[in-house]
Amino acid sequence: MKYHFQPLLILLGILTALSTSAPAPARTAVAPPDDAPGGDIRGIVSDSTTGEKILGVNVRVMGTTRGATTNLSGFYLIANIPGGDWQVVFSAIGYERKERTVRVKPGEQVTVDVRLFPRLIETREVVVEGQSTGALLQRNAMVHSMTAGEFKNLPTSGQPDLLRALQLLPGITSTSDASAKFYVRGGAGDQNLFLLDGMKVYNPYHAFGLFSVFDPDIIKNVDVYTGAYPAGFGGRLSSVVNVTTRDGNLNRIAGAANMNFMSGKLRLEGPIADDNAWLVNGRTSLFSGAINRLVPNPAPTTFYDLFFKGTAGTSTGRVGFRGYFSGDDVRPNDITQPDYQWRNSAVSAVFSSLQGERLYFDVVGSYARTTIARMSKDGNTPPATSFLDEVSLRGEFSLFTDGEGTSFEGFEFSFPSINNSFPVVSGGTREIKDGQVEVSVWYRYEGEWGPWRFNLGLHSDLMLLSTGGELLQGIQPRVMVAYDLGGTWNMRLAAGVYTQNLITVGNEDDLVSLFDAWLYLPKELRPEEAYHGVFALEGNVFPSLAASLQVYGKRYPSLTLYNSVKVFPDDPDYINGDGLAYGAEFLLRYSSPLADLNASYAWSRVDVTAGGVSYPPRYDRRNTIKVLGTGHILSNLDLTLRWEYGSGYPFTQGEGFYSRLTLSDLGRDPFPGGTTVRTRVLGPKNAARLPAYYRVDAGITYTIPLGPFRAIFGASVVNLSDAKNILFYDRTTGRTQYMTPFFPTASFTLEY
């Protein structure tokens, strides 16, 4: 036990002696010193059963401090290793460890491609984020990495879902069961950047936010940056969700079919020739009535999505294409409610390769279109439509240096074009068209120095600079410094500056915002801006129990908020405000062959100020406890329980009514007269709190072999206790609408 608290003592020592501490001496290498230039070890690591390239494999040269982590293409490079025979170790969670003896000749490159075997019996090794994959790429960032397997078996109300799974992470909250839209550490819902294989996704939700467009079956890995994210990501203030899809099975034709109470889906994948793979995945709604149980008003909902991908691999890179299409239609039974239609389409081409000896680059070119339409049934109101088209080219060059570091230089050109049409009270429409060129470049250096690790970068928004933006907005520093405290413990400090030029017009006061059209900020307003600061302490208390503490602060010098005191048409709809968010998050992860437990507590606070009025925004949840437990009852039977508590969200209380005088004859008679209108009086904005949120979900999955197939039976119960969590209160009718009720579902999956 004494050992487990040693890192805390070390931390205290570090904090008091930080200014004088010198880097710890490098671990002694057993290899003989060699003054001659060394050689490089490089290669690609893939899954032995599917051929899928594995991201985040920890590659270490034994007897040295040298190592690397595989990138999205499974590629790694360890530069300047002295000549000789070396033991190189490849390890990744979920795979058997592999060792290879490699002969390095000075001045030469040795290619070592490795196939790792998935572990048949998973030994439950718990390691905190960043440590799990070991080396530079993830250890140097404030990131939660998840694989599809981590959220596919969660109890759900129909669809396993990435964004719902993300809400298990501390610091991420949602304002309703009926929406996958989430809020990260006090950031608004439009401040999250979604990337699908490098393509921006502007509307990542299906069924008006019930779940996301990211089908777990196509996902290889998800990196979630909840704050202080590194150079290379820009344009959003709060978080980054970076989704990497699978390439497809390189060894054989494979597939899966799934049916549940809400949808059916089919996935097919396979090889074409050596190292070339394809993957097609489609989903469509089957029982639109099931969704009615989960949403406030009966609204038959249909949806579909289709994803396809082709990848050709080479010994040092790959080339590929992918396409994505999705659509949703909601047609409420209520004739006073409008119909909604959402469409997404995107195609992209990727090319990545090693150029020369140590320069690796990834380039993604893409075109994407997002449309939303709101159509009234009476035919008298013009439809509201929103079109967002974007062509973009994104590239990043990785330069592996002789030392223990890698530098990254990247660029992104994007040409978003917005064409919105809104019906207005006067009966017509208001057209808002805007097209801009966005150019950003970045530089990032990731390195190690004894027990110190660092990720230093600059992210530059060139268009902001060229249009008179402030220096700190145009050139945004991003810094992360980590210190290994010994054992598995480490502490990190990260900070960064972020800006955002696009917002959604949806009112953050809306519980479920259906028409989230994107808009460029009005020219007269400052870009939205945020400063992040995060401190983290992480490590293993026991070998099977990991703990993480993160404390963060986010200052928003500039936010774009509704002008709550708008009176006249000439008054702006939006004004600049500011905000402050801060909080602490504590995460425990326990794992054993019999059970896994993931428990977190988050305390947070956010206040925004606009027009001289300060208030907590709609999504300011102060206390959140999330517990997810999975019992491995049998080798093929898992039982999952999920419990969540969230303190109440703010809302504005009514304070009765008053007889409002119109003073309609003011120009003729100053006496306070005129007709009276019964008008509601509201209290201070968001000064009251809704009741706390509770929910228990349970799920069970049972897997059996059926000849060449694998059958997976799943059953879930959402809101087991039928807790009455308030979705909204209709002040006019006095009706309270609750979130998802007790809701049992089942699913069946057949995999080949």
Partner: protein, 306 residues
């Protein structure tokens, strides 16, 4: 392990089953509703005092302490009931607080405070407006056979938010054997609706254009033809004897920004081209709702009797 899991489940269910009460309205948070328009040209000032209510309006607030302070002077309002003619001509009774012989000074700040016996309190301030300037630029147009538009020039104080102008004809008409003084308004414009009926348009409160300065007045024109038509209609209405036209009366009212903002919202004239769907609210009453603003009015008369 299974026992532990069931135990966790039972605990979670236990806690989750505790549904809490929800109170959408703040209990008992009654606020004062204050309406008052400080008027520079008259000595009597009015304050209307009400309170918010949970469902239906309650009885008028009696015995409240209502004071208006300015530069060390305190004006006390008294609780009373007055009777005034409504727009339809019938008498209406109003529960108001009244102060007589109040000398309102232009550009001076006034603070209104109201405290009820039950402890409700509200406060608001306003700045008294200066009287606007108004003169007739083309009096010849008002004479019999006059031609060209009837043009007036108006100048405002710097804190003016909006203005409104009216043009009336005062006349004596023989009715039931006696001469009675009457007033008839001349419309600013007239148009024909879809049914072919003529619709009169009168001045409404409008924001003062930014270019209007003390030395660059606002010019307002009335149609001479509409003036003549109004005179003709008056004469036809009272055929017993020739009508005696006394005055052409022009009134110019200006109100401050606060009052105009309230008026704009209360009369449903929100931004009809906005993409926003929320309904704004406006009040300058600290601790309550309503409005305390300032207005000023001048009259310009032109003698018609020859």
């Amino acid at each position: 392990m299974m026992r532990k899991l069931w135990y966790i489940l039972a605990c979670a269910l236990g806690v989750s089953s505790c549904n809490q009460p929800f109170t959408p309205d703040a209990p008992g948070n009654t606020r004062l509703v204050v309406y008052s328009v400080l008027n520079v040209e008259q000595g009597t000032q009015y304050v209307m005092l009400q309170s918010t209510f949970p469902t239906e309006p309650g009885a008028p607030i009696r015995d409240a302490t209502v004071r208006m302070k300015s530069a060390g002077d305190v004006v006390q309002f008294r609780d009373t009931v007055i009777e005034r003619a409504s727009a339809s001509g019938t008498a209406e009774r109003f529960d108001v607080y009244v102060a007589n012989n109040v000398s309102v000074k232009k550009d001076q700040s006034y603070a209104l405070e109201a405290t009820t016996p039950s402890g409700l309190f509200a406060r608001a301030t306003t700045t008294a407006l200066a009287l606007p300037d108004l003169y007739i630029k083309s009096p010849g147009a008002l004479r019999p056979g006059g031609k060209g538009p009837i043009t007036l020039a108006a100048s405002f104080g710097s804190v003016t938010g909006a203005w409104e102008m009216h043009f009336s004809i005062e006349f004596y008409a023989l009715i039931n054997g006696g001469w009675e003084l009457h007033r008839e308004e001349v419309p600013l414009k007239q148009y024909e609706d879809n049914a072919g009926a003529l619709v009169n348009v009168y001045s409404r409160l409008s924001p003062v254009p930014g270019w209007v300065k003390t030395d660059i007045p606002l010019v307002v024109e009335f149609d001479t033809l509409l003036y003549q038509k109004t005179r003709t209609r008056i004469s036809q209405t009272y055929p017993a004897a020739p009508v005696v036209f006394i005055y052409a009366v022009f009134s110019l009212t200006q109100v401050d920004n606060t009052l105009y903002s309230y008026y704009y919202i209360a009369n449903g004239t929100e931004d009809k081209t906005s993409i926003r769907l929320d309904t704004p609210e406006f009040s300058n009453i600290a601790g309550g709702v309503g409005v305390f603003g300032s207005s000023a009015r001048v009259y310009e008369r032109y003698t018609l009797r020859e």
